[in-house]
C-alpha cells in the first residue's frame, strides 16, 4: 500500500492555504488498495467512482486497453443465495441504470459522453535543447465529449494537457465563487515520482475523467461556457495571464509606487473589487484588507459589517463536525477493506495448503482409510477456496459502496473554498467600509480646521472636494463588493441545500448497498460451509467413540 504522504501543493486560486490535503491522499491510497486486490481492476479504473459511468461509457472512443468498466454489479440477493430461498433483506440496486440518485443526476447532466483517453507524450514547443531527444516533454490526453442537447450529437475531440485542466479549474474557481466547485486532481504527488510512469499516467487519466464528470453534473458548472470551451475549442488552450505568484507580485510591486504617490486615495476599480484581493496584483489592496482583518480579529474592533446569518454559522459548525467524523469513518473504511482483503488471502492460502495436503495424502496413501480421509479433507479445501473468492468479491463491492465516504470528503474541500470565498468577499466589503469611514473623518477634521480660518481655506476646501470624490468612488466600489458578497451568500445557501439532499441520497445508497452485499456474501460463504459440515457430519457423530489419536 502506498504511503499516504499528502500532496504538497501551493494553494489553488482562491483556496484556503491550509486546505486539507489529507482526504485526497486517503482517497488515492484507497484507490491503490482497491487496485491491488482484484485482477479485474487495473489501476486506471481503480476508481470506485465508476458506478457513475453510465452505459454510454462503452461507446467511449479510446485506445487505452484497461478502460473496461470493471465493477461487477452487485449480485441481486437471489443470485447470491443461489436461487434465493425467500430472504427478507432488501434487494440491492442491481445496476447503475436503475433509479439510483447518482445515475439520475448523470442522466440530467449536460453531457451524455465524457471521456479522457489516449495519453501521448509531446515535446514542449518552446524548448530547444542541444541534445536531441532530451527536450522536456509532457503528456497530452484526448478529451471526447457529446453534448446532450446537441441536435446533431456531434462528437468533439480535443487534445488537452494537465496544465489545461489546471487553467480550467482556476477559471471555474474565479467564475463560480461561493459554489462548491469540485476539486481537480492533484498536480504532483509524491507517488508520481515513485510510481512507474505508465501507472501514473493511467491513474491521472482516470482521475481527470472523473473530474470532468463531476463538473458536468454540477447544476451551475455543467452548462457553463468555461466547460464548453474547454471541451470543444480546437487548438491549444490560451494561457491565463501569468499564473505564478511571483510575476503577479512583480506587477503589483510595479504599481505600488504610483499608488503611494497618488496618495492613499487610489481606489480599487469596481470590477477588481469583485475578485479576492489575495490572488491579484493590487498589493495595496492586499495590505489594506490584511490590516482590516487584523484589526477585526486581534484588536477586537467591531467591523462595520458582520456575518450575521445565524443559519449559516450553525450550518458551518455542523459541517465541521461532519467532516471530522467523515474523515475518521473513511479511515476505518480503509482499514476494513484491508482486513477483508487479508482474510480473503489467508483463507485462500489455507485452502491451497489443504489442497496440497490432500493431494499428497491421496497419492502417497498406504491405507484406504487415508484416501477416504483425504477426500473429506478436500471438501474442506474447496470450501475454503470458494470462501476466499467470495470474500474478495465482497471486498470489491465494499470498496464501491464505501467510496461514497471518500467522495464526500473531497466535496468538503470545495465547501471550504466556497466558504472562504464568502469570507474574503466580506473582508473586501469591510475594508471598503472602513475606508469610507476614515475618509469621512478626515473630511470632518479638515472642515473643522478650515472653518477656523476666516474666508475659508482654499487649499483645504480643494482637498475636501477631492476627498468627497474619493468617497464617492469608494462607495461605488463598496456597492459592487456588497453585491458580490450577497451573490456569494446566495450561492452558498443554494449549494448547501443541494449538498444536503445529495448527501442523504448518497449515504442511504451506500449503507443499503454495504449491508446488502455483506449479507449476500455472508450467506454464500455460510452455505458453502454448511454443505461441508453436512457431508462430513459422520465425524462429529463418531466423535464420542473415536480417539483423536487414531
Amino acid at each position: 500500500m502506498m504511503s499516504s504522504a499528502p500532496p504538497s501543493e501551493p494553494a489553488t486560486a482562491g483556496g484556503d492555504d491550509d486546505m486539507e490535503s489529507l482526504p485526497l491522499a486517503a482517497a488515492s491510497d484507497y484507490a491503490s488498495v482497491a487496485s491491488t486486490f482484484d485482477p479485474l481492476l487495473s489501476s486506471t479504473s481503480a476508481t470506485a467512482a465508476s458506478p457513475r459511468s453510465p452505459p454510454t461509457r462503452a461507446a467511449a472512443f479510446t485506445l487505452s486497453p484497461t478502460f473496461s468498466s470493471s465493477f461487477v454489479d452487485p449480485p441481486s440477493y437471489a443470485d447470491a443465495t443461489g436461487g434465493g430461498a425467500g430472504s427478507s433483506s432488501p434487494r440491492s440496486a442491481s445496476s447503475p441504470s436503475s433509479a439510483s440518485p447518482r445515475s439520475a443526476r448523470l442522466a440530467a447532466s449536460e453531457y451524455s459522453l465524457l471521456a479522457v483517453s489516449d495519453p501521448e507524450t509531446e515535446a514542449e514547443p518552446a524548448a530547444t535543447s542541444l541534445v536531441p531527444g532530451s527536450a522536456p516533454t509532457y503528456v497530452s490526453y484526448l478529451v471526447t465529449s457529446v453534448h446532450r442537447r446537441d441536435p446533431d450529437q456531434r462528437r468533439h475531440s480535443v487534445r488537452r494537457r494537465f496544465r489545461d485542466f489546471v487553467t480550467l479549474a482556476d477559471r471555474l474557481a474565479e467564475a463560480f465563487r461561493g459554489h462548491f466547485v469540485p476539486p481537480r486532481p492533484d498536480k504532483n504527488t509524491v507517488e508520481s515520482q515513485v510510481m512507474q510512469r505508465d501507472e501514473f499516467v493511467a491513474q491521472r487519466r482516470a482521475a481527470l475523467e472523473r473530474y470532468l464528470w463531476r463538473l458536468a453534473e454540477h447544476p451551475a458548472i455543467g452548462p457553463s461556457d468555461e466547460l464548453r470551451v474547454f471541451l470543444q475549442a480546437e487548438g491549444k488552450m490560451p494561457l491565463p495571464g501569468s499564473t505564478d505568484m511571483a510575476s503577479r507580485m512583480l506587477d503589483g510591486a510595479a504599481r505600488l509606487p504610483r499608488q503611494l504617490i497618488a496618495g492613499e486615495d487610489a481606489v480599487a476599480a469596481p470590477q477588481e473589487v469583485v475578485q479576492p484581493a489575495r490572488g491579484g496584483r493590487d498589493l495595496l489592496r492586499i495590505f489594506k484588507e490584511l490590516k482590516q482583518s487584523v484589526v477585526t480579529d486581534w484588536a477586537g474592533v467591531k467591523p462595520p459589517l458582520l456575518e450575521e446569518d445565524r443559519e449559516f454559522l450553525e450550518k458551518k459548525y455542523k459541517l465541521q463536525e461532519w467532516e471530522q467524523q467523515l474523515t475518521s469513518a473513511s479511515q476505518q473504511a480503509e482499514a476494513l477493506v484491508k482486513a477483508q482483503q487479508d482474510m480473503a488471502e489467508t483463507m485462500g492460502a489455507l485452502g491451497l495448503a489443504f489442497v496440497r495436503l490432500t493431494k499428497f495424502e491421496t497419492e502417497e496413501a498406504m491405507y484406504d482409510s487415508q484416501r477416504i480421509r483425504a477426500a473429506d479433507s478436500r471438501r474442506v479445501a474447496t470450501a475454503a477456496v470458494k470462501a476466499s473468492r467470495a470474500c474478495r468479491d465482497l471486498n470489491a463491492q465494499t470498496v464501491k459502496y464505501l467510496d461514497t465516504l471518500h467522495e464526500h470528503l473531497s466535496i468538503m474541500l470545495s465547501v471550504h473554498t466556497a466558504f472562504s470565498d464568502r469570507a474574503s468577499a466580506l473582508l473586501t466589503v469591510q475594508t471598503l467600509m472602513s475606508d469610507v469611514a476614515s475618509l469621512q473623518s478626515r473630511i470632518e477634521k479638515l472642515e473643522a480646521a478650515s472653518s477656523k480660518i476666516f474666508g475659508g481655506d482654499r487649499a483645504r476646501t480643494r482637498k475636501v472636494e477631492e476627498l468627497r470624490e474619493t468617497i464617492r468612488a469608494t462607495e461605488e466600489a463598496k456597492f459592487c463588493a456588497l453585491r458580490e458578497y450577497e451573490r456569494i451568500k446566495e450561492n452558498n445557501r443554494s449549494e448547501l441545500q443541494r449538498l444536503d439532499s445529495e448527501r442523504k441520497q448518497d449515504f442511504l445508497v451506500m449503507l443499503k448497498g454495504f449491508v446488502a452485499s455483506q449479507a449476500a456474501y455472508a450467506e454464500k460463504i455460510v452455505d458453502g460451509w454448511e454443505t461441508v459440515a453436512e457431508e462430513t457430519s459422520g465425524y462429529a457423530r463418531a466423535r464420542g467413540s473415536d480417539s483423536i489419536t487414531s
Binding site: Q325, A333, T346, L350, L357, L508, F514, I548
Partner: protein
Amino acid sequence: MISPERSSSQSPRSPAGAPFLSISVTDPVRMGTGVQAYISYRVITRTNLPEFEGPEKIVIRRYSDFEWLHDRLAERYKGVFIPPLPEKNAVEKFRFSKEFIELRRQALDLFVNRIASHPELKQSDVLRTFLQADEEIMDRARSYETGIFKKPADFLQIFKDVQSKVSDVVLGKEKPVEESTPEYEKLKNYIFELENHLTEAQKQAYRLVKRHRELGQSLADFGKAIKLLGACEGDLMEKVFSEVGSKSEMLSIKLQREADNLLFNFEEPLKDYVRAIQSIKATMLDRANAFRQHFDLDQERKYKELNLEKLKFMNPEKYAEAESEFREASCCNFSLRNS
C-alpha cells in the same frame, strides 16, 4: 482408547473388575513472581490398578515435570513413539495469556492420557512416579536429570559421535547411514513430506485466527465511526446509521468468538498433528543414531579383533588385556543391536 479431553472422571459405574486409569490435568495456577513465575497444574489420577497407591491421587506438577516424564520415557523406550509435548518456549508476552494457558493445559492433559493408554508406556515406573510422587521427590528427580551435569556416559557418547563424524570427513569414507528397506525409505519420505504439508496448513490456520481477530476489530471500529457520523445528521438518518453501526459491532463480537473457536478446535489439533510427526521423526532419528553407533562399534570391534590377532603373535601378556577389551566391545555392540 480413552477419549482424552473429557477424561476427568471415568464413571464409577464402569464394572468394578475392568481396569481403568484416568488422569486429568486441571486448575492452572500462577506461582511465583517476576521472571521465575510459572504455572502449576493439578494432576488427578483415578485408577483401580494394583500398581498404584490408591484409587485417587492428586499431585501438583509444572511443565518441567511433564518434560522430565517425556525425556525419561524417550530414553527408556527407544523405538516407541512417545506422545508429543506442547512447545517449551513461549514468547514472554504470551506466556501467561488466558488462551495460552488453556491450550497448554489441554495439550498436557492429552499428553499424559495418551501415555496412559499406550500398552507399553503405561506400565513404566516413571509414569507412576510422575503421577504419585511427593513434590519434593519430583523436584529432586527433575533437577537431577535436567541439570547441567549430565551422566558421564552421555559425554562419552557425544565425544564418540563427534569422533566418528570427523573421521568420516577426514577419511572421506562412504558410510551407510542406516539400515533400511525400500518400505522404510518410503515411509521416511512420506513422514518428512507430510510434516511439510501439515506445518504449512497449521501456519495458515494460525494466520486465519489472526485475520478473524483483525476483521473483528476493524468492524467494531467502523461501526463506531458510522454511528458517530450518523449523530451529525440527526433524525431519520441517524437511526439508519446507528443501526448499521450496532450491527457492525455485534458482528465484531461474533468474529472474536469465531477466532477463539478456530484456535481451539482447528489450529490446535493441527499443531498436535505436527508435534506428533515431529515425535515420529525423533524416533526415526534415534533409530538412525542407534544404527550408526552400532556400526561404529562394529568397526571398533573389527579393529580390535585385528589387533588381537597381531598381539597374539607378538605379545602374549598384552593379549589377555586386549581380549577382555574385545569382549566388552562385543557386549556393547550386542546390547545396542538389540535395543
